[in-house]
Structures are given as C-alpha cells and as structure tokens.
C-alpha cells in the first residue's frame, strides 16, 4: 500500500495487555490529527481493527503490563514482528495500578471474589481451559522482551503520542519536551 507520492506506508500495530485501554483512548485523543496520521500509516493488529494477529510491522505500541500467559504470547508476537517496540504508559513500563495485586495471595483473592463475597450464588473459581493462565505477579513488559522506547504517563497525552510518532515516522530521534513528559 502506498500514499500519493509512492512512499510505502508505515505499518503500526497496537495492543492492550493488562491495561485499561486509557492509552488507546489517548491515542484517539490525537483527534483530527488521527485523520492526518491515517494518510501515512496503515494499521495491523489493533483493538481498532479486525486483524487478529500481528504481522510484520514498523512500529508496535504496547499498553499494559503482563499478567497472564496470553499477555506473554501476544507481547512476544509483537516483538517478533515489530521493528520498533514501544512501551506506552505506566502499566507497560512498571506494571501500573494492576500491579497493586502483587503483594496479595492470588488464591485468597479468588476465594474472596468468587466464593466468599455476599450476593454470590453457586460460587466457585473459574477454571475453564479457555481462560488464560495467570501469573501471580504483574510484570512490566521489559522484563519479558527488549523494548526500544518508553512513553510515561497514566496515560501519556494524545499530544505526547503524536509528537513521538511524528518524530519516529519522520526519521528523527523521538524527543518529548518537558511539558509532555509526565507521569500522572
């Protein structure tokens, strides 16, 4: 696929692992600039498309940390296929709020939520083989694969994601000026 001047489009894949989709919402917070981006970019696997597996891509954006076997599998699929892999937001970088469960015993939590809580009928912990295996801790993605760039924030703003992507696509070293580099 090419744009009007014959340059190949930059192929971008995105996914949310153990995250809240807030970083994807920030991606959409590029607002009208999304329509500009769409002229130079084509999307591969992403929650915004119906492509279910990541193929060869230029840029992979990862939201969320790693909390189960499926996350590990998807993250490795992205690393294998993406020339540049980017950890987007607090959860991908350090586990974020989901990592608050790291100090708890998983078994106790399961019992609390699925068996002991008031209002539960026919309680029992879900254990179907279709459900992915959980890790007992939530991990940042760099503990599992090599990561090329990290964009902090919970979530990073649409402006930060725009600046980063336009730098990268334009062949410049991505630089976030001080006001765009936030951790909240």
């Amino acid at each position: 696929m090419s744009d009007s001047i014959g340059m190949p489009r930059v192929r971008v894949a995105t996914t949310s692992l153990a995250g809240c989709f807030g970083c994807h919402m920030s991606f959409l917070d590029m607002d009208e600039r999304l329509l500009e981006l769409a002229k130079v970019v084509e999307f591969d696997r992403s929650p915004l498309t119906d492509i279910k597996h990541c193929g060869p891509c230029d840029i992979g954006l990862i939201e969320g940390g790693v909390c189960n076997a499926e996350n590990v599998h998807v993250l490795r699929e992205f690393r294998r296929n993406c020339k540049t892999l980017v950890a987007v937001g607090a959860c991908a970088i350090n586990g974020g709020l989901p990592a608050q469960r790291n100090h708890l015993d998983l078994g106790d939590c399961l019992q609390q939520v699925y068996v002991k809580r008031d209002g539960i009928e026919e309680g029992g912990v879900p254990d179907d083989p279709e459900l992915p295996l959980l890790l007992d801790r939530v991990h940042p993605i760099h503990e599992v694969v090599r990561v090329d760039y990290f964009i902090p924030g919970c979530p990073p703003s649409g402006d930060a994601i725009w600046k980063f992507l336009t730098d990268l696509i334009g062949g410049r070293t991505p630089r976030l000026a001080h006001p765009l580099l936030r951790f909240d």
């Binding site: 807030g22 970083c23 469960r101 998983l106 209002g119 009928e121 879900p126 959980l134």
Partner: protein, 486 residues
Amino acid sequence: MDSSLETAADREQLRRVVIDPVSRVEGHGKVTLLLDEDDHVREARLHIVEFRGFEVFIQGRPYWEVPVMVQRLCGICPVSHHLAASKAMDRVLGIPVTRSAEKLRRLMHYGQILQSHALHFFHLSSPDLLFGFESEVGKRNIVGVAAAYPEVARQGVLLRKFGQEVIRATAGKRIHGTGSVPGGMNRHLAVEDRDALRAEIDHMVEWSRAAVELVKRLHRADPALYDEFGRLRANVMSLVRADGAMDLYHGALRFRDADGKILIDKVPDQSYRSLIREQVKPWSYMKFPYLQQLGPDEGWYQVGPLARVQNCDFIPTPLAEAERREFIDHGRGEPVRATLAYHWARMIEMLHAAETIRDLLGDGDLLEGALLADGERGSEGVGIIEAPRGTLIHHYQVGGDDLVTMCNLIVSTTHNNQAMNTAVREVARRYLDGRKLTEGLLNHIEVAIRAYDPCLSCATHALGKMPLVLELADAGGEVVDRVVRE
C-alpha cells in the same frame, strides 16, 4: 434463559472455532464455538479472559484515594468509576453534595456519555453498519470510514473530542482526572473553558441529531436485518429519576420485564443488594448477575442505552425526547428488542447528553459556589451511576482509620453478560448454523457483542485460577516467575 447452546453434551467430539480476540471492543474477550461434523453449532460462549483484582486491592487503601484509583479500571469510562466511587464516599462521609459540586459532576458525566457514545458508534461500530458485516477486513475500521465517508468520520472524531474537552475542563485531564473528591469537587469550571465549550456546543447538538438520523436511515434501508438481528427477550434495569425521567447521574432502580411491564420501581441505590445476586460460571471471569426474585434462569436483564431509553417515562430534553417517542413508536406497542437497536438508542442518548451540556453551560453555579460541605461520618456507602454502558454499582465499607475494609463493584458490562451470551447464541443459530464459517460470518457474532459496547476490562475486577505450571522467562531466557496450580 436460553441455555440450549451454553454447554454441549458431547464436547470432546466437537470441532472448536475461536474468535480471539473479539476486536473493536474495549477489553479482552473471546468467543468459542463448538461445531459438529455437519457444521451445526452446538455450543457458543463469550468468555471474558481478563482478570484484574481491584475489588481486593482497594481494600486497605484510604478512602480518599479510591475515586482516583478505581477509574483505572477503564480508560474509556474512567469518569463513571470516578463519580460512582465519589458518590459512595459522599455517603460514607455523610456529606450532602453542594449544588455547584453536583452540577459540575453532572457536566463531567454527560461529557463522558457524549465522548464514549461517539467513540463507540463512529470509531468502533460504524464500519460494520456502513460497509456491511462481511466487508473487507482491511477496510473495516475507522480509517476505512474516514476514506469512504470523510464527513461522518470527521464529525465522530470531533464529537468525541468535545466530550473529552468537557471532561478535561471539569476533571483536569481527559483521562484519569482528579476533579471529583469524596464529598464534592475540587474545582470550578473556568470561564475560558466555559466560553470555549459554548462556542462549539450548537455544532455538537446538530451533529448528534445527524447521528440519530444516520442510524434511522440504516434501519429504514434494511428493516429485516435491523429489526431481527440478535433479537431477544430480556428484562431491563436502570436508574430512573423520581419523576420517571431519564437521569444518568442519579436516581432509583427500576426493572421492567420483557413485555415492558414495571416489575420493581423506586428502589433506593443503597438497597441494591436486596435485588441482585450474582452467579459464577467456570468458563468466564465475568459473573452473571440476576434479579433475585426471578432466579438465575429468568432473572437476567439488560442494561445500557436500549434498556434506559425504554425504562424511563420521558427524556427531559426536547430533541432527545422527540427521538425517544419515535423509537418507542417503532416497536408498535412492543418493547424494541433488536440488538442493533442499541445503536439507535445510544445515539438518542448522545443527543440528550449534548442538550444537557448545552443547558448546564448556561448555569452560573458551575463558576462559583461552595464545592464541599461537612457531614456526619458513617462507615458504608453505595454509589450508583448510569455509565455509558449501563448501571454501575460501587459499594464500600470504611473503617474508623479511614481505610477501606470492603469493596464490591458490579459494573455495567457484567449486567449484560447473559444478554450478550444469549445474543451470540441467537446469531450463531440464525446465521452460522450448518454453514462453512468464513471471517465475515464470524464477524456477525462480533457485531452482536459490539452492539452492547462491552467494556471487558471493567468487568473483570476479579482474579482467576491457574490450573497448570507456568514459567515466565525474561528476554535472556532467565525464569523470572513461576506458578504452580493443581
């Protein structure tokens, strides 16, 4: 309950087809179909495969952190969790929220309804409706819509942007803001933000009307599809204002049965537990709530736009009310139960949100007035709000040391769990049974799920079980985590 396709008798003999991940929705879900050798669908399940743990790790945190922490359940509707938690904590603190604080929260909330409904319709669902369920995969997304229908895409993007700006102006940030606090708000609306929003709001009302028109055109163009696809009978639940009006910020609980008759009415939010119980099924991390008096088989219900538009007696803004009447007339005396009618109802609500924002922006209480009051401290509170996807329940107990001792959340999408599974089975039976499955046919299943606008991250605040041994190795092959479960 339609359980005929929930569990096949001879599962080992059947062929498994999986849709994984369900795409153009928020969160992690997959659908499994079990087929026999003649391609008849014998089992169909929507699995929610994600776990979170919020309900557990919120316990032990100071109550004032909660409205900011829990919104990280969901980046699409953070305001819903931010406000439901704040409302519950208002109760804990015994604080009657001031007029200014409530209006500011309402403005934030209706901004969120506007942005979330625009996002869902334009960015996520419109490709199916504009191009067809079996259209080319590579085009079936918002970029494809932008190329084929640039004005539709532009209005969708700008409607969402406006809603996000309303949230920024009231919460401080577009996503995961801090404006609402237990007992009130921590900021007024700035005059410059008010003026900037006012300059745009008439466009937003117009474009919301156009969006309702677009959905009606789609219904008119293919009534057989729009009136029949995924049609099912269900009870409905939502908050309703004391006078019967739609109110997405506050009200009492009302249930109607599948014929539209009011079953239960005017139940105060603090008493939700007398109505609802939850069932656990081993194949999904998402629980299955039901109305206790009807039991799990008959007591499941729908929430969200399709439920709300038909559960209220009227919508308190004129343009949306006119659209509601036309919608009700479409049912010819019967409740409208077609799955795709969710989109129509959702766009009526988006119009209502735009009108409500327009009215609120003229209110001086947003700019000045007390933001916090004093109260008589208690130990327990329930906060219920109508989030974009439906009724959201937050329930907390707080100890004398200000730490949360109990947290129970029933989120919007969880209420729709059985309804979504039933819709999946209806569509599987009607469109897929006995046919060679193609990507386009499988997308029919996703179209039905998408209509509910599920927010699967929200719905999976619990933790799951690990039946096997799992090792996590880092990039160098070093094992960094190992889990063993029987």
